[in-house]
């Protein structure tokens, strides 16, 4: 057997590299077609992508344990709406408290998801489908703090300014928050015992259990992290758009999952890197902003391109895996 690995298994090991190539190619094409695109709109892309980026970090944890959460955007809307209503009623005026509250609400819903999914043995898709129905339905209810949606007038000026108008090293706090969440997730997943256990549970749950990992606790933890990140994203959404209602971000959870899958995260669990997820999320954000500027087809073509890209990304992963397995067998003369 040759000492150096085949190019295919190298690509399998580093699934984010081809994606980086595609991203660079895409940017090059857009930049040629629309001169000065990158210089003009990189900041906008980062701003628009950061909310999705935060949710992607949580989604990564859930996908790693082989589960899925499609209630993230519902949790986003719910956490944002509850915190916004409280601010509108004058209960909370402190900006920092808003973020803490959002994370707490999201984490609570995520924990319920996780408990139902692991201890109740209900399939994650069904649980999160159900909770997304329930929390979205709760938003406009009258007994839940009155108002049926949150308007800009109900928010304090300090809160609205907090993420957009404060800058550090030329980047608004919104982007810094996303970077912070990415860094924390990277540290957690790579350098803590619990973080490595997420990978262990996802890749081989029986082996992990033999080694003494408490499967259900890890699953609940992953869902809690995902819920917390969605709650944080809800407050970021509220600070960025200054409004939130029942239908906010409907269907966007698919793009969160899409960004993760584009970034090479395996949906069967156990494989996925934070770098890949960051590139995937950037890719989705760039497609959102670049394709309309290229003026091909009608304005709705971005949906189509995102769909095709996701389809090809997941199929390419499988094909690469198959070729790599075949090469391994050929290398051992089987």
């Amino acid at each position: 057997m040759s000492k150096h690995k085949s190019i295919y298994s190298f690509l399998i090991e580093h699934r984010e590299l081809p994606l980086l190539g595609v991203l660079a190619l895409l940017l090059a094409i857009v930049n040629i077609r629309v001169p000065g695109y990158l210089a003009n709109s990189w900041l906008n892309v980062l701003k628009n992508g950061s909310i999705n980026m935060v949710m992607c970090c949580g989604m990564l944890c859930v996908l790693l344990v082989g589960s899925i959460d499609i209630s993230t955007t519902a949790v986003l809307a719910f956490a944002g709406a509850v915190a916004g209503k409280l601010m509108g009623l004058g209960v909370i005026q402190n900006t920092l408290l808003m973020f803490v509250l959002g994370i707490a609400i999201g984490a609570a819903i995520g924990a319920v998801n996780g408990i139902l999914m692991s201890y109740g043995r209900v399939i994650a898709l069904i649980v999160t489908l159900g909770t997304s129905y329930i929390v979205r339905a709760l938003i406009p209810m009258n007994w839940l703090l009155g108002m049926n949606k949150v308007n800009p007038t109900q928010l304090t000026q300090g809160f609205k300014d907090s993420l957009i108008n404060h800058e550090f090293l030329g980047l608004p706090f919104l982007v810094w928050l996303a970077i912070l969440v990415v860094l924390l997730t990277a540290l957690f997943l790579n350098y803590t015992r619990t973080g490595r256990n997420l990978y262990a549970v996802g890749s081989n749950s029986e082996a992990a259990q033999m080694r003494g990992v408490h499967l259900n606790k890890i699953r609940v933890l992953a869902h809690t992290i995902c819920g917390a990140s969605a709650g944080l994203a809800g407050i970021m959404w509220l600070a960025f758009y200054a409004a939130i209602e029942k239908g906010s971000a409907t269907g966007d959870e698919m793009f969160t999952i899409a960004a993760c899958v584009l970034g090479g995260v395996s949906v069967t669990g156990g494989y996925g890197k934070i770098t890949g997820v960051v590139i995937g999320a950037l890719m989705v954000a760039f497609i959102d902003s670049a394709i309309p500027q290229m003026q091909i087809g009608n304005s709705m073509i971005t949906e189509f391109i995102k769909g095709i890209l996701l389809l090809f990304a997941i199929l390419l992963n499988v094909i690469l895996q198959r070729i790599s397995a075949k090469q391994d067998l050929a290398g051992r003369n089987i």
């Binding site: 979205r136 409907t250 899409a258």
Partner: protein
């Protein structure tokens, strides 16, 4: 004796009881409202409930398609997008043939209906092809990607605009949304059509060998494969039929939505289809469920929505809330009951062994 016990512990029997309880509660509330003088006459009586089922039977066809997929242990979340794409095809084809091309209306409508059904089949076939060729991937992630793809495709065809048809030929589709007289009761057209489809599906799934094979695939795919069943072929055709049923749902939907077509009309419909099928006893693990259960659960959803809407004055969101709660509980409760039964069996066996040892 065993058979009778099986009947009383079956999921369908539970659903019938649930339906009866829901009806009793609503009937009581309705009667007390009349007695208290809040409303002038009762609204919760049989004919009225049947009449009001109209909007809720729209996605019943989609539920039938979803049943097949769930019975095989797969899931298809692209059915709503398939419905949208076929409806958009219907609208655009008719627009090009009759409105712009000047073709005879009935002819154009027939052609575009055929195009609509064909698109449903093709989309289903794409799902089936990908799910059978790329077995490493969950069908959920494949249909997630194809959902984005189909949705994007309908946006590509029609853009953000809305096509509205005024001519009488296209408007004749709204006959699908009318009420007809059956034995003195006004019944929405979709109900008898659904019953016909449901009987066909019942005979197919529960009385033919082919139908049993679908459940066998859901129970243990490898065992079924090695016993000589062409699992891939069956799976492929089930996805095609699910796509076809989405297109049928789409046709009924156009009849309902005042003959206008746009690119997001059926977003999120897969959720209702999955919810109804899961309450009907189908599980995403596969191998379980019956057509009768799915039909009863559709009726339950219809009654709950009607009752909450008219009697309690709840808005749409409260109805969604009940859908979410029912969805989770309908999977959670059987699991808990099973756990309890297992624990009881273990305790009994322990007691028996202890007694034997003494």
């Amino acid at each position: 004796m065993k058979k009778i016990k099986d009947f009383f512990t079956s999921w369908e029997f539970f659903l019938v009881i649930l339906l009866a309880v829901v009806c009793a509660v609503f009937y009581y509330v309705d009667a007390s409202r009349v007695a208290a003088g809040i409303s002038r006459r009762p609204v919760f009586y049989f004919a009225n409930v049947v009449r009001s089922m109209r909007p809720y039977f729209l996605y019943s066809f989609m539920t039938l398609g979803m049943m097949l997929i769930l019975a095989m242990g797969d899931i298809d979340i692209s059915v709503g997008a398939i419905g949208t794409l076929s409806v958009v095809t219907l609208g655009v084809t008719y627009n090009n043939l009759a409105v712009l091309g000047g073709m005879n209306g009935a002819m154009a409508l027939t052609l575009s209906l055929m195009a609509c059904l064909a698109v449903g089949c093709i989309c289903g076939a794409l799902n089936g092809f990908l799910c059978t060729r790329f077995k490493e991937l969950f069908s959920m992630i494949i249909t997630l990607a194809t959902q984005l793809f189909f949705r994007g495709f309908s946006y590509l065809i029609i853009g953000g605009e809305t096509l509205t048809f005024k001519d009488p030929t296209f408007r004749s589709l709204s006959a699908l949304n009318k009420l007809i007289d059956v034995a003195g009761i006004k019944v929405p057209v979709s109900l008898p059509v659904f019953l016909v489809f449901a009987v066909i599906f019942f005979v197919w799934l529960h009385m033919t060998g082919n139908g049993r094979k679908i459940f066998a695939i859901g129970t243990n795919r490898s065992a079924t494969y090695y016993s000589g069943v062409q699992t891939d072929k069956i799976k492929f055709w089930c996805f095609v039929i699910a796509g076809l049923m989405s297109a049928v749902t789409g046709i009924f939907f156009v009849g309902n939505s005042s003959s206008s077509v746009k690119a997001d009309i059926m977003d999120g419909y897969h959720m209702y289809a999955i919810a109804a099928a899961v309450l009907g006893g189908f599980s995403t693990d596969g191998g379980k469920g019956s057509v009768i259960g799915a039909a009863i659960s559709l009726v339950i959803f219809g009654v709950v929505k009607f009752g909450l809407g008219t009697l309690f004055g709840f808005a749409d969101s409260a109805v969604n809330l009940s859908v979410g709660v029912i969805l989770i509980l309908s999977v959670l409760v059987p699991n808990l009951i099973e756990d309890w039964q297992n624990a009881r069996r273990v305790a009994r066996r322990r007691a028996e062994t202890a007694a034997a040892n003494n």
